[in-house]
Point group: C2
Chain length 290, copies 2
């Protein structure tokens, strides 16, 4: 049992912190920008609500964060009243935000300067994965530090992998999002074409889903896509944030991502259709629109 | 046991005809443009080599074809010395070529005019699927005729589905190829980016392949893609032929296929790199090229 802090109780962080308390059995102190949510969490799970990240991190062995973006992350760590103000020597800061590899390296250096440690640990599996404690966690950092953090992370994860040095977790998450972008657009075009061709989409998917066109997205999203329902997961606004990070990193490392860049623009069009909170499969709504 | 003809003994047709003989136990007459191949087949499997499609189809209960494209298909059916010259009343012509829905409807009408039947039945599963007799067969045609043909088709198939009236098999195959085009480009961009980012691709795929980015292509092609080996399946030239059919059909039915059209152009660039016979995952070679 460790002293654990959790910063950021959004749709992901709220249940993840819950698993750290209930499944992990740790002593939790939580922080959230809207304080009432931290109080609600503390009542529901039993723990302490802190009014700043610095207060939450004070004395903690492990500090977790799951916030919106690079700027939010800098604010709750190296910003005023941030967690790094009280970060104790030997503590491990595990960041579950999907952020840039650059901010991960920056915070790794800042933690090291304080005699502490940093692991970037973005997740995949969505809200359902967070609620059921079965997320995939892609980590970047020092192997010895990773081995210390792993049993704690396990409370909300089904698969936890160390991908390389600081930033590697973020880079792996980027590969994940790149693969999804092309894949979902292909699937959306397939279903859109099938409907235009007058085919029975259920029957088509039944026949093709076990072969070379098969995918998790086809298996898990075709029914809702075919029904024109787009409220089953990761939202378009979040995907655009992730693709923004991806395309910025590709400018750094020189990777060519023509389909990813195109799909990012398609998501911009979905946003213009009012689909900010629709899930990523709503690329079909764009194709189906008049 | 039926009298069966098979027209077109390419990398797919040769083993498919073999399964009809060996697994199906039918009496086979085979035709191939290069006669020596038909003779070779007849010696290997035991059967008769015909010198024209009309001769092969003469008296047959079921006639199968697996040729290159719409024009080849017209040539061996309604062309001079084609199978339709001798097509007997009540016979079923099963076409395994990946062709247009238009030619399927045309041959369906032509067969009906002769008191015979037509089923379009393109396959997926590649050369390995043909050799192992485990193809997926997407059929279009009359339900009663399909039920008669199905036990014969079973000799080379793992999954056989009736998708709707004549042409529906071809349209389903098109959905399959559309899904693959976007999916493989996404996967290629993901691996390309991962290499540029200095990640261990094997490790990345291990972590992400069970989640929302997962696909048959990721599972079965990432190792060879990462090794820069592109000789493991369906060739770029064939994919371009299929996408040509897809894009022509989309012009008919009004479907929007921006990623498919883009990927088709990428495959044109792979051809320009000399990759005509590389497999479809060689989209990565294009991204990795200087």
């Amino acid at each position: 049992m460790a002293k654990v802090a959790f910063i950021g109780l959004g749709v992901m962080g709220y249940p993840m912190a819950g698993h750290l308390k209930v499944k992990g059995g740790h002593a939790l102190t939580v922080y959230n920008r809207t304080f009432s949510k931290a109080e609600k969490w503390a009542v529901e799970f039993g723990g302490r609500a802190a009014s700043t990240p610095a207060e939450a991190a004070d004395g903690a062995d492990f500090i977790f964060s799951c916030v919106g973006n690079d700027d939010d992350l800098r604010s709750v760590t190296t910003g005023k009243d941030g967690a790094f103000e009280t970060l104790k020597s030997g503590a491990v800061f595990v960041d579950n935000t999907t952020a840039s590899a650059e901010v991960a390296r920056e915070l790794d250096a800042a933690a090291t300067a304080r005699g502490a440690h940093f692991i970037d640990a973005p997740v995949s599996g969505g809200q359902a994965g967070a609620e059921n404690g079965v997320l995939t966690v892609m980590c970047g950092g020092d192997p010895a530090v990773f081995e210390r953090a792993r049993p704690v992370i396990d409370a909300y994860a089904r698969m936890v992998g160390l991908m390389g040095p600081a930033g590697s977790g973020q880079l792996t998450k980027m590969v994940n999002q790149i693969c999804i972008a092309g894949l979902v657009q292909g699937l959306a075009e397939g279903i859109h074409f099938g409907k235009k061709a007058g085919l029975d989409i259920e029957k088509v998917i039944e026949v093709i889903s076990k072969g070379a066109a098969g995918s998790w997205q086809m298996e898990n999203r075709h029914k809702t896509m075919n029904a024109g329902k787009y409220d089953f997961g990761f939202a378009v606004d979040w995907m655009r944030k992730d693709l923004d990070i991806v395309l910025a990193e590709a400018r750094n490392n020189g990777a060519r991502l023509p389909a990813t860049a195109l799909v990012d623009q398609f998501y911009a069009e979905v946003q213009a259709m009012g689909g900010n909170r629709w899930d990523t499969s709503s690329l079909l709504a764009r194709l189906d629109s008049k």
